[in-house]
């Protein structure tokens, strides 16, 4: 299988913090079957960037997050952090890398040990790595708790169930920051929070990012949130990336049929894409047996035999940071390069 290629990867420079190449994650299911959770995806994140991965359930975005930190190790592919290939490290080697790449989880309550005090939870990182347990360490933890907006004195005696969902997420962030990471992977961090709390947490994440010079990988199914938070966005479907590039561009001019449908479905009062009326057909195919060629073809109104036979490779839209893996993307005329084929199938209208 040729896969969607790596044309969209940018040059590997000193600023490239995380570079994922041809990542594959498969789980056994029953005796003979495999769940193709993530099938050959690649992307890169530069220092200081926020990459947002957006997709619906079953697209493999959470699995990607866990695969990056090797929990569990991916089936195949490279995950390079500052040049070091994490997939080739042994257990201890990977453990040594862990402080640099931290994670925030979706369920704020479940991600904190109910039996421990909040102070202890945030402090755990230093306890694991540091041989000193002095006042200096404790002060750092106190400062971090305060930085996320909580009272360090209360944290000494209170346990997670005494805090709200939003506050628990802050605790998670504090815990992650205590290790001075460079990358934080946020796996649906605001999905279980109330609307008004979401805004606070998103603002806080942005503040922390600025303050501590972080690089973020932000995963969510909520398109509006992803757009707000990210510099670049990748759209995933059934284990593949469909479209990737600059966030504003993708939302302004979505080219992949799936991206367009996702955007059209958002019940935003001011959704400019809501008039897209292409019908999304059928059900999500099973990840045990994904469609050949382009995985989206079984539900795509523009699909032809070519889509079944050949998996589309990434092509650039114009000269922008905007890449799409589709044989018939919705490209405007002025974005067609000199060698581009006509981008819509001859028998269908745009």
């Amino acid at each position: 299988m040729a896969g969607s290629g790596n044309n969209h990867l940018r040059e590997n420079t000193d600023d490239t913090l995380l570079r994922v190449e041809n990542l594959v994650v498969e789980f056994p299911s029953g005796r003979r079957n495999k769940v193709h959770a993530v099938s050959d995806i690649s992307f890169d994140i530069m220092e200081g960037e926020t990459l947002g991965i957006v997709g619906e359930s079953g697209c493999g975005k959470s699995t990607t997050a866990k695969a990056i930190i090797q929990l569990p190790k991916p089936t195949a592919g490279k995950v390079e952090y500052q040049g070091t290939n994490l997939t080739e490290l042994d257990k201890e080697g990977m453990r040594q890398q862990r402080p640099s790449i931290q994670m925030i989880y979706q369920d704020p309550i479940s991600s904190l040990n109910p039996r421990r005090t909040v102070f202890n939870i945030v402090n755990e990182g230093t306890r694991v790595w540091s041989t000193e347990h002095g006042a200096a360490q404790e002060q750092k933890v106190d400062e971090m708790i305060e930085a996320v907006g909580l009272d360090p004195r209360e944290a000494r005696t209170r346990r997670p169930h005494e805090y709200s969902g939003g506050q628990c997420q802050r605790i998670s962030v504090a815990r992650a920051l205590v290790l001075d990471p460079k990358v934080i992977i946020c796996d649906e961090p605001v999905s279980s929070l109330d609307v008004s709390v979401q805004a606070r947490i998103l603002n806080m994440l942005q503040d922390m990012k600025d303050e501590y010079k972080l690089t973020l990988l932000f995963i969510s199914h909520d398109l509006s949130v992803v757009k707000n938070v990210s510099d670049r966005v990748a759209v995933m479907y059934l284990g593949k990336i469909c479209e990737i590039g600059d966030g504003d561009l993708i939302y302004e001019k979505p080219t992949h049929p799936y991206t367009r449908l996702l955007l059209a479905a958002i019940p935003d009062p001011k959704n400019k894409h809501k008039d897209i009326t292409d019908i999304l057909e059928g059900e999500l195919p099973s990840p045990l047996n994904p469609p050949s060629g382009c995985r989206f073809r079984t539900r795509c109104p523009r699909a032809t035999e070519k889509c079944a036979a050949e998996e589309p490779e990434f092509r650039q839209i114009g000269n922008d940071d905007h890449w799409v893996a589709c044989h018939f993307p919705h490209i405007e005329d002025d974005d067609l390069g000199p060698n581009d084929e006509i981008s819509w199938p001859p028998d269908r209208q745009e």
């Binding site: 109330d194 609307v195 509006s224 479905a265 009062p269 001011k270």
Partner: protein, 354 residues
């Protein structure tokens, strides 16, 4: 025979409805005086965050609350008083409810077809064959592919979207006069969400039933509802036809809610304006307006007095200093000058965000 236009029939009438839970600390006033009317053929969206009382309100109407509750006020369904009476006779006949998580609301060990055909046989006296036929019809109506085959499947064999469609079929099977959908699409993917919501609206129009959609998502409310009711702290903050609410927003909470959500047409990294503060304590809550502690417009009297409901045609709201009025503008201006509201909340913006 000439088809007469149906005069709007008041199906549901709430008057100062209250629900309190008896807890250790006292009475938790989950619903603290809610009044509205719902007519046949209309869709009302009740919007609120968690703790607003929207779910308790609707479960109260249905009669699904536990035994440690105090109910007061009036809820009239087709003229009959429901409060402190046995609602059971309406279940499965006139009132139906769809819940958020179809996986836990469907019986995991019963075939989905049976879960629809049983109520048909029970409440409508159909024979097994008739019930199965009608079930397959309903499945087709709600867009379940291969409906006869699906009849014999179990919930875990279906996707989330399919399960929700089954839930809707169950609700529709009894041809209710009132359908309450509690966050029907929250746990579903956004592409499926659109179809389920479209389906609900379509079904509602065809059967002329009344529908209440409970949601935290203003976008959902706008697209599908005739009227929107915004709740906070167990009370109604604002109630208006959908477009009116968005175009002539009056209550500061509604406005704050809208401002705190990231919007698609904002550029990336737009700073969001969250609502500061915490939800009110419903046991030992504030005397005045429930939202006062977090409101940018709050004045002294907001903290002590409960605002009356101002009614302007079909738009009603409970606020002393609504947006877009002179009082509101003055209130904001005076807060902005002081740098904080009467509740001590710091003012961030220098101008009203309308």
């Amino acid at each position: 025979m000439l088809h007469e236009t149906e005069t709007p029939n008041t199906l549901l009438e709430l008057d100062d409805y209250r629900v309190g839970f008896r807890t250790e600390r006292g009475l938790a006033k989950a619903v603290d005086g809610v009044s509205y009317e719902l007519h046949s053929g209309k869709t009302l969206a009740i919007v609120g965050e968690s703790g607003s009382g929207k779910t308790v309100l609707n479960r109260g109407i249905m009669g699904l609350l536990g035994s440690n509750v105090n109910e007061s006020g009036s809820v009239k369904f087709q003229g009959e008083e429901l409060v402190n009476s046995d609602r059971q006779k309406f279940w499965g006949k006139k009132m139906a409810m769809i819940f958020q998580d179809p996986m836990t609301s469907l019986n995991p060990v019963m075939k989905v077809g049976k879960q629809v055909s049983e109520p048909l046989r029970l409440h409508q006296g159909m024979s097994r064959k008739e019930a199965r036929h009608r079930t397959v019809e309903l499945f087709t109506l709600v867009g379940i592919p291969e409906p006869s085959k699906r009849f014999d499947e179990y919930p875990h064999q279906l996707s989330g979207g399919m399960r929700q469609r089954v839930m809707i079929s169950i609700a529709l099977a009894i041809e209710p006069d009132l359908l309450i959908a509690d966050e029907p699409t929250t746990s579903l993917d956004v592409t499926v969400q659109k179809y389920i919501l479209d389906l609900l609206v379509e079904v509602q129009k065809e059967s002329n039933m009344a529908m209440t959609i409970i949601t935290h998502d203003l976008g959902v409310a706008r697209g599908r509802a005739d009227e929107i009711l915004v709740m906070y702290g167990g009370r109604v903050m604002e109630h208006a036809p959908a477009e009116t609410l968005f175009n002539e927003m009056a209550h500061p909470y509604t406005s704050a809610l809208l401002s705190s959500i990231p919007k698609l047409d904002d550029p990336k990294h737009t700073r969001l304006t969250p609502i500061e503060g915490f939800p009110p304590d419903i046991v030992d809550g504030p005397d005045g307006c429930k939202f006062a502690a977090r409101c940018q417009y709050a004045q002294e009297n907001c903290l002590n007095e409960l605002p009356d409901t101002t009614v302007k045609g079909d738009h009603s709201y409970a606020c002393f200093y609504p947006i877009g009025t002179d009082e509101g503008a003055k209130a904001f201006a005076s807060n902005a000058e002081r740098g904080h509201t009467a509740a001590g909340l710091k003012i961030r913006a220098k101008e009203e965000v309308i």
